[in-house]
């Protein structure tokens, strides 16, 4: 199963990728994108089984990405975990309405990320 990490911060992508690798996920199964637009392009060329998506990104932000990817039939039910610093209640509501499966507020420790992603991972 391929996992797509979408975050405009190279440091955050590194952190999330390392956590997944420590969990035993093969490096080749972890893809990354620096914004929603790049993520859409990657998702069109690969079959993604789990998305980890930031909110605030240039070009296409996480919320718009979720709405766009949900409109693609193959990704209507694919798990999407939004990992963002946006901690206001109205942000969480908006993200759920857009179609995210789960919502996690940064900073996030490795064990919490694994707890949130665990049931979707099959490594």
């Amino acid at each position: 199963m391929k996992i797509l990490v979408v975050d405009d911060s190279a440091v955050m992508r590194r952190i999330h990728q390392n956590i997944l690798k420590e969990r035993g996920i093969d490096e080749g199964d972890i893809l990354d994108a620096e914004d929603g637009q790049a993520a859409l392009e990657l998702a069109s060329r690969n079959t993604i089984g789990l998305f980890l998506v930031d909110w605030n990104m240039p070009r296409l932000n996480g919320l718009d990405f979720v709405q766009r990817i949900r409109a693609i039939s193959g990704y209507a039910k694919t798990p999407i975990i939004m990992i963002t610093s946006e901690a206001a209640r109205y942000n969480v509501v908006e993200a759920i309405q857009a179609g995210v499966t789960n919502y996690v507020v940064k900073p996030i420790k490795g064990d919490v990320l694994l707890e949130k992603t665990g049931k979707y991972l099959h490594a």
Binding site: A10, M12, N18, N56, A88, R89
Partner: protein
């Protein structure tokens, strides 16, 4: 600017540096930043817009920035690389985003972070809004979180 607008940023900063990065941080008494040039060499900045307006700046000395981002990324950086600057931007992004949960009076949109480096620079803060500086110190050096948020009450 009222304390209730500063405290969410203080709380978010302590949570990030102390609880998440496991640094023993000491915060000093917040004060009004009179000299806009009295920031450290590396500053991450985020604009606040929506039902109020303002900006938040996280400012570090060079080595403090390198060491704190190394702690964040669990990767040892030796210089002020693009990835370290990216990490500074992410730190201020986390502080601003987390503070929103306690700023209940208004809906706020946060901008993408920017990072400034240099020995002498001036940030053009929102006009007519005071800037409150929260000083911090930790084992990696001193830093500050600077908040300017227009009162609506």
């Amino acid at each position: 600017m009222q304390a209730k607008y500063v405290n969410p940023f203080l709380k978010a900063s302590v949570n990030l540096f102390q609880n998440y990065l496991d640094l023993q941080v000491t915060s000093g008494k917040p004060f009004l930043l009179k000299d806009p040039k009295s920031l450290y060499e590396v500053s991450g900045i985020i604009g606040l817009a929506g039902e109020t307006r303002g900006a938040v700046v996280l400012s570090f000395g060079r080595m403090t920035a390198i060491k704190i981002v190394s702690r964040l990324a669990k990767h040892e950086y030796l210089a002020l690389t693009n990835e370290v600057l990216d990490g500074v931007g992410e730190l201020i992004n986390i502080i601003a985003g987390n503070a929103k949960q306690d700023l209940l009076e208004f809906r706020i949109e946060i901008s993408l972070p920017g990072v400034i480096t240099g020995k002498s620079y001036k940030i053009h803060w929102p006009e007519g809004v005071p800037v409150v500086c929260i000083p911090f110190s930790c084992e990696f050096g001193e830093f500050s979180v600077n908040v300017s948020l227009k009162d609506i009450a």
